[in-house]
């Protein structure tokens, strides 16, 4: 094996790249050209779920959104430990099953702790972190 066929190996990646970039460009252009156009003061205002837009977009918002995001990151990543087990489900047998139950139990303990701490409680007082 020499380095001569390297460019050929990368052709699919290049194609993928072109398709991805092309999709974005085409969609943007198409919506811009084909879509109906209307404008006005109310129409151009920032859309905020029926509320009038007030103030700066960089206002600090409630820390609760933040807690949800952090917790999502945590629990999301823990799931990667399930993939190897799922792939080798048959080979690992009962041993793997018990291990994964222990893992999930500990994870659920954490989840229960989070609930009891009131992090997921949207109506609680503001300074709850």
């Amino acid at each position: 094996m020499t380095g001569q066929h390297v460019p050929f190996n990368y052709l699919p990646i290049l194609l993928q790249f072109l398709v991805a970039a092309g999709f974005v460009v085409v969609t943007l252009l198409a919506t811009h050209l084909l879509g109906p156009k209307s404008s006005g003061k109310r129409h151009d205002a920032t859309f905020e779920c029926g509320l009038d837009s007030v103030g700066n977009a960089r206002n600090p918002f409630s820390v609760k959104y933040f807690m949800i995001a952090i917790l999502f990151v945590l629990f999301d990543v823990e799931i990667i430990f399930l993939y190897p087990w799922a792939v080798n489900f048959k080979a690992l047998g009962w041993f793997g099953y018990i291990e994964i139950i222990i893992f999930l139990t500990l994870l659920m303990c954490g989840f229960y702790y989070v609930i009891r701490k009131g992090v997921l409680n949207w109506e609680s007082r503001e300074d709850n972190d």
């Binding site: 500990l106 303990c109 229960y112 702790y113 009891r116």
Partner: protein, 452 residues
């Protein structure tokens, strides 16, 4: 294995105990869990002989390290109750996190596979990041927590890169693996892993975070950092050097002795200038780490007890110092030298206990610190590092100056005499630690035989 399982269950239950109304149960329960785990270690209760496919192995020195860590934590746990006096009711979380960090500590001192080292280090550090910020409303504590976090994560990343390089050279995380790639790359990986651990221990090129973090952290958790974290990191270094010193080239040892030397020189000079007692103790801890590192230079299984002895002497004395600082800080709201003035007349017990601990840290005779320095320097002298020993001795004498300056402050008269006392359980723990320091100093053979 059993002790780690016990600690995990205890920590989880402690977290949930925090939701109950009765918070008096939390600390006794935590202490009981840690005590049972320590007993399991001591009596060789192992459920499975092969720990995680032999990735961990508690025997000999690592057992001694683990027991030391658990013993120190048993002395710290009761003091968490002090937070309630300040109106922080989350002692269950603190205590639970402390127990989680112990699990990390045990993993760090008994690994034979670098994967476990990394996991242990992270379990220990992540818990400590949070504990450093335990005083949420105090800006100093926030700052300490943030600094500790940034530099700790930085150190972990460096350590992980070292481990990755090690893996690239050996295709294995086991420390006794055979080398596949060239050994320069391997030695580079050792160097990077050392730097990562040196951050945690706070050796001189990587020490700059320690004084700031020690000062800002609530003092009880500073005590934890100065003792448990340091013992764990030294245990990890010990395990690392003793398991793969056959791969290491000569220059790694040269570098280690250079680090030890600069650590001792710089930390002692910087300690002289500190006004805050916590910062002074931080620099003193750095210099003690330099002395302990001297013990690593000619490491052999028979000599491992001298390092353990030093760690015992250092951690008991340092624990007493920080706990006394905690009480003084509670009274005078800062930790300057001046707030220690006349401590002997206000609270003779604390002053005497602190003096014993400071003398031990300085290496005064009849204390554990003296014998510890003697053992370590003696080993180095036998191995032929005379220059290093001479420098270490000079700076050990210099260090006496700042220890005695503080003792002098405590015993000199101050304008206001307001006697106050501390509760009996706390006094009991401080007494036990001080008596341990003195007994280990007068009759070192008892401890040395135990460690052997």
């Amino acid at each position: 294995m059993l002790s780690i399982a016990i600690l995990t269950i205890t920590a989880t239950l402690v977290l949930f105990l925090g939701f109950s109304k009765n918070r008096d149960l939390i600390l006794p329960f935590s202490a009981a869990g840690v005590g049972v785990a320590a007993l399991c270690l001591l009596t060789n209760q192992s459920l499975w002989n092969e720990w995680f496919m032999n990735m961990m192995n508690i025997s000999g020195p690592s057992k001694a390290f683990s027991v030391l860590i658990l013993g120190l934590s048993l002395c710290i746990i009761p003091f968490i109750n002090e937070f309630r006096r300040r109106g922080t009711e989350e002692i269950a979380d603190f205590s639970g996190l402390l127990i989680f960090s112990l699990i990390g500590g045990i993993m760090m001192v008994s690994y034979s596979d670098l994967m476990i080292l990394f996991l242990g280090l992270e379990i220990l550090s992540i818990a400590m990041y949070i504990l450093a910020g335990a005083d949420r409303k105090r800006l100093n504590s926030n700052e300490a927590s943030l600094k500790y976090f940034i530099l700790g994560a930085f150190a972990s990343a460096i350590l992980l890169f070292g481990i990755a390089l090690f893996y690239a050279c050996t295709a294995s995380f086991r420390l006794d693996a055979e080398v596949l790639q060239n050994s320069t790359l391997l030695n580079l990986s050792f160097l990077i892993i050392f730097s990562g651990l040196a951050f945690k221990i706070a050796l001189v090129p990587f020490h700059f975070w320690a004084p700031d973090v020690y000062q800002g952290t609530p003092t009880i958790f500073t005590a934890t950092m100065a003792t448990i974290v340091k013992v764990s990191a030294f245990g990890a270094l010990f395990q690392f050097i003793s398991l793969c010193n056959h791969h290491m080239t000569e220059w790694i040892y040269w570098l280690l002795s250079l680090i030890a030397l600069t650590t001792i020189v710089f930390s002692n000079i910087l300690a002289l200038q500190q006004k805050s007692v916590k910062r002074m103790l931080a620099y003193s801890g750095i210099s003690q780490a330099g002395f302990i590192l001297i013990g690593f230079l000619n490491l052999s299984p028979e000599k491992s007890w001298s390092i353990l002895y030093y760690l015992f002497a250092y951690s008991t004395a340092s624990l007493v110092c920080f706990l006394v600082v905690h009480f003084v800080e509670e009274k005078s709201f800062n930790d300057d030298h001046s707030s220690f003035r006349g401590l002997y007349f206000n609270n003779p017990f604390l002053a005497i206990v602190m003096s014993i601990a400071l003398i031990s840290l300085g290496g005064g005779p009849l204390t554990a610190g003296f014998m510890a320095k003697l053992f370590v320097l003696n080993n180095a002298a036998i191995a032929g590092n005379i220059a290093l020993v001479v420098f270490a001795l000079i700076f050990a004498v210099l260090s006496l100056y700042y220890y005695f300056r503080l003792i002098n402050q405590m015993f000199s008269h101050s304008n206001e005499i307001k006697s106050w006392s501390i509760e009996y359980p706390y006094a009991g723990i401080l007494t036990v630690l001080s008596i341990g320091t003195i007994i280990a100093g007068i009759l070192p053979n008892i401890l040395v035989d135990l460690l052997k």
